[in-house]
């Protein structure tokens, strides 16, 4: 070791008390799944962490039945303030067990401990704390006075932010008065099951939250179950499409948070050091496993070479390796399958004529790893400029005028996120107006907050998570007498001539 090298600084695993086998969490208790159990591995070492149960159709039925029973018998009858108190308890328990959850998440997912410790788990607690306060204030959610909950929510979440996605789903659902059946991603079930223990500690009534594990087919059975009233899904656009098809003709309310190919636009007057940091944060945060990643860098032609030089210098300082090490910036790719996809698209990028450059870092011999990579000379028709890679791979394009930047940024079926880097406030506002994306970061990137709505335009899905709008996604207007319930009561115009007003008055 040389004088200026970092000594290893791994976070201790001593506070983990993991079991060797995990069952399904149904009706407040862990039960064995009736499908074939599977192993969950540490993607940094490929070592098994635990065995996870698979829920088969009968298990899904049982979980939905438990959620329905809890909805009818307990949760829908509880006062908003009592629902809120349970959510506050959960927020506090997450804070108390934050380090344990962070270590478990890093083990199971492969993301650096500094991210789970400083971003994922704090946001989980914040999400529950935020929505806890909403539970007794639903009249202000924006769907009219005295809104109604939906019933049983089926929630299917991805592997990139396992516990954070769980919080995004469960917190607003419970605050609004729904009960939940949640299926975590196959490769990252562990923290959801630790969360089930937290629910036991919080003494949440049995069946209000049920957590069932398994592969995609378990999720499919769950969202297609006739007993669910709401489907909330975060994941790929192709699965989102399949869900949109399968719920056609039903009255299930749906939120879909799908893929993205976010444009990060750097103008020539940008604060350049912050922009470089933001580009790195935009694409290499969480190994690029981020649906809203800034995976397309649009840089103004006049500063292209300077930006690329600085970006490469910055990328050379990124430390790839043991996710549990507190100095690690780039952790492991979550699965062999995902690594194969990143490799495939990167090789395609080279074949299509883009110029590949990767940071020079030592790749560990076991586990799944991919060095931070950028492609220059990318054109808009290249697959690496169109397809979501979902890895630490940045495609760089150039533009000359703001109009060209906007046209290129919007030239995608996706519409989840975008970034703007400029020192000129009026330009930021004008460009932000023209971008067809649900979340836009100006002179920052990848910021999240429970009070801030998140979700996409176009094929990035519909519905919002976070904020008042994320709460409304789990509510419906008060039931009116008469044939029609879709219109909020307060929205009906009251005029002498209005027949609808007359009917409402009858």
């Amino acid at each position: 070791m040389k004088f200026l090298d970092y000594a290893p600084a791994p976070e201790s695993q001593a506070l983990l008390g993991l079991k060797t086998d995990y069952g399904l969490f149904i009706n407040g208790e862990f039960t064995a799944g009736r499908g074939t159990p599977f192993q969950t591995i540490n993607p940094a070492t490929e070592q098994q962490i635990a065995m996870i149960a698979t829920a088969n159709e009968a298990d899904v039925d049982a979980a939905v039945a438990a959620a329905r029973h809890a909805y009818d018998g307990v949760w829908s009858r509880l006062s908003g303030s009592d629902r809120g108190k349970y959510l506050f308890r959960i927020a506090r328990l997450v804070q108390e067990r934050a380090r344990e959850l962070a270590v478990a998440e890093t083990l199971d997912n492969g993301k650096p401990i500094k991210e789970t410790r400083d971003v994922d788990i704090p946001l989980v607690a914040a999400w529950f704390f935020y929505y806890a306060g909403w539970a007794d204030k639903l009249d202000h959610a924006g769907v009219g006075p005295n809104p109604a909950s939906l019933g049983v929510a089926a929630q299917v979440i991805p592997w990139n932010f396992p516990l954070m996605m769980l919080a995004w789903k469960i917190a607003p659902a419970l605050a609004a008065g729904n009960t939940v059946v949640l299926k975590p991603a196959e490769t990252t079930s562990l923290t959801a099951l630790l969360f089930a223990e937290i629910l036991q500690q919080a003494d949440l009534p049995a069946g209000v939250v049920n957590i069932i594990t398994g592969a995609g087919s378990t999720g499919q059975t769950l969202v297609n179950h006739p007993g669910v009233n709401k489907v909330a899904f975060t994941g790929s656009t192709s699965v989102g499409r399949a869900i949109a098809r399968s719920v056609a003709g039903t009255d299930k309310k749906v939120s879909l948070e799908l893929g993205g190919k976010g444009a990060n636009i750097v103008f020539d007057d940008a604060p350049i050091d912050q922009a470089i940091e933001g580009i790195v944060r935009g694409i290499f945060f969480n190994q690029g496993h981020v649906c809203c990643a800034g995976s397309r860098l649009l840089v103004q032609e006049s500063i292209h070479d300077d930006v690329i030089d600085r970006l490469k210098r910055s990328m050379q300082t990124l430390r790839l390796g043991d996710p549990l090490d507190k100095n690690t910036d780039i952790g492991a790719i979550n699965s062999a399958e995902q690594l194969a996809r990143i490799r495939e698209l990167s090789e395609l990028g080279q074949r299509e004529g883009a110029e590949r450059w990767s940071a020079d870092c030592v790749i560990p011999t076991t586990g799944f790893w991919f060095a931070p990579t950028i492609f220059t000379n990318v054109s808009t028709s290249h697959r690496i400029a169109r397809d979501e890679i979902f890895g630490p791979v940045l495609s760089v394009l150039t533009f000359r005028t703001p109009a060209e930047a906007i046209a290129k940024a919007n030239n995608t079926p996706y519409g989840l996120s975008a970034g703007i880097w400029s020192d000129k406030g009026s330009r930021i506002l004008a460009v932000a107006d023209k971008l067809r994306a649900g979340v836009i970061w100006a002179n920052t990137f990848n910021q999240f907050d429970p009070s801030s709505p998140f979700g996409g335009y176009k094929e990035s899905g519909y519905g919002r998570e976070g904020g008042r709008h994320g709460l409304a996604a789990y509510l419906k207007p008060a039931v009116r007498t008469g044939s029609r319930s879709a219109a909020a009561v307060h929205a009906t115009p009251v005029t002498k001539k209005s027949t609808s007003a007359k009917k409402a008055a009858k």
């Binding site: 499409r241 949109a244 932000a432 002179n443 910021q447 801030s452 709505p453 909020a488 009906t492 001539k497």
Partner: protein, 287 residues
Amino acid sequence: MNRLAIPKTYKLYIGGKFPRSESGRVYEVLSHKGEFLANAAKGSRKDARDAVVAARSALGGWAGATAYNRGQVLYRIAELLEGRRSQFIDEIMSCEGVNAAAASAQVDEAIDRWVWYAGWADKYVQVAGNANPVSGPFFNLSVPEPTGIVAIIAPQSAESLLGLVSAIAPALVAGNTVVVVANESAPLPAISLGEVLATSDVPGGVVNIVTGSPAEIAPWLASHADVNALDLVGAGDLDWVELQISAADTLKRVLPPETGADAAAPALSRILAFTELKTVWHTKAIL
């Protein structure tokens, strides 16, 4: 001696113009008593696609207009409708077979509905948007924006004018552009509304009206990749689940069919159904 009347040729309304169907087809519109009223254009797949092209090219201008301006343009439609009351009353009476009082009440309500929705244009953003108190040095604002092109199957049952207005007005408020398939059996008020739109300040292409068979045209609109949203309010008698399934290919926003007297009742939720919430994080300097 009675003067010989000059009957009107009823055509489509696409891109601010009144073309015949490119297919050359027409269908007979009959009165309630079975008398011949007119040959209406029987719109085709190509007409629907032309309408989508017109709606796309009009979108930037309409969505980019100020809210005050959109509100005034929508209000202007009510003004012009008021001046053409008798024409619409006649058409409704002959198409729907209702008496003058009922036709007159329908026109009144259609006019009032334009006024109600026009007033929302510069308010819905305030009601549905939000300033968000995030934990950090950011100014964080959420604002609803138009979804894009909304394809609408207008209500097919009674009250042809009111049904049409109730379906298209809310989509227009936010700045969407519209392709609407009119009431098949009572299309005359729809085309006359097109004449009102053409002579008001609504830019060409913002509203495109196709007459003909909803069962034939709707699948082309539901599967059209450049359509962003689908309002099936009047599609109750069609195979609307199939339409919804085909709309899922490009993840269109879909509103389901509505039936009964309260179908397409005026509501803020109808405006918001065709909006997308945009959240922008602006960095604050640390002083």
